[in-house]
Symmetry: C2
Subunit: 121 residues, 2 copies
DNA sequence: GAGAGTGAATTACATGTGTAATCGACAGGG
DNA sequence: CCCTGTCGATTACACATGTAATTCACTCTC
C-alpha cells in the first residue's frame, strides 16, 4: 500500500468519515486550520487517486470520490511501521514509554486493562 | 524539535547507540541493508547538524558527532504525534487497534498488564 | 616533496510534498 | 448564443529527502 503524506491524510480522513463526496465537498470538510484552497485539495485528490488509495466515479461533469482502502488497514500499517522503527516491534516497549511519559490517565489504564482481560477470554 | 526524516533516523539510531563517532564510524555502523555510501551518510550528518539534533566537536581534522537530543524525547514526540493523528490522542484506541489485528501475543499482554499494575501502585 | 588517501563542504539531481495558479471544456442564466 | 462560474487537468514552484559526486584542504607515505 502506498504511503500517504501527512497533508493527504487529512483528505482521507474526510472521505473515511463520509463518502462519496465531490472535490468541493471535500474541501468544505477539511479542517479549517489547514487553510487550504480548493485548488490544493484538488491536487491532493489527484495524488491520492494516483496512489490508488482513492477511487472516483463520474457524476455528470464531476467526480465523486471515495476511499479505496480501509481506514483500519492504513492505520494498522502506519502504527506497525512506527512500532517497528522506534520500539523494535515490541508493543510493551511502546506502552512502557507512554507510561513513563505520563501519557496514561487512570481512565486509560482501566480501559486498557479491560480490553486485555477480554482478549484473554 | 525538528522533524527527523526516516533515513536520517537510522543515523540517529547509530549515534544513540554509541557516541561520539566520526562520520566514517557512523557509516560503518549504519545497517547494511540501507546500502548507503559514505557520502550519503555525511550528507545526513550535515542535515542533522543543521536541524540541531546532533552536535559535533573537532577532533583534529575530523569531527566527532553525538546526539543533541535524547532518544526517549524524540520517540515520545513521534509516537504522540501518531496517536494524535490516527487515534485522536486516545491510547486505548491504539491498543484496541493492535488487539484487533492480533499484534498482541499472550506474552505481550502479560507484560503490559504487569506494567499497568505497577503504574497504579 | 609528490602522489594517495581522507575530511568536511559544496553542489547535484530526481522524487515527494505543500501549496497553489492557470487552462480549456462545458453548463446554466439571461 | 454569450458570459460566468465550475470542473478536472496541467503546470508551477519552493522546500524536504534520498542518494550521491565533486572539490578543496590537508596529512601520511614513499
Amino acid at each position: 500500500m502506498e504511503r500517504i503524506a501527512e497533508g493527504e491524510y487529512a483528505v482521507m480522513e474526510v472521505l473515511w468519515d463520509e463518502a462519496p463526496l465531490t472535490a468541493a465537498d471535500v474541501a468544505a470538510r477539511v479542517p479549517e486550520d489547514k487553510g487550504w484552497s480548493l485548488a490544493t485539495v484538488k491536487t491532493m485528490l489527484s495524488r491520492l487517486l494516483a496512489k490508488g488509495v482513492l477511487s472516483h466515479e463520474e457524476d455528470g461533469r464531476r467526480y465523486l470520490y471515495r476511499p479505496a482502502i480501509r481506514r483500519e488497514d492504513y492505520v494498522a500499517e502506519e502504527s506497525g511501521r512506527l512500532i517497528d522503527r522506534m520500539f523494535g516491534g515490541r508493543v510493551p516497549a511502546l506502552v512502557a514509554q507512554l507510561a513513563a511519559r505520563d501519557k496514561l490517565s487512570p481512565a486509560d489504564i482501566a480501559e486498557i486493562e479491560k480490553l486485555l482481560k477480554e482478549l484473554k477470554s
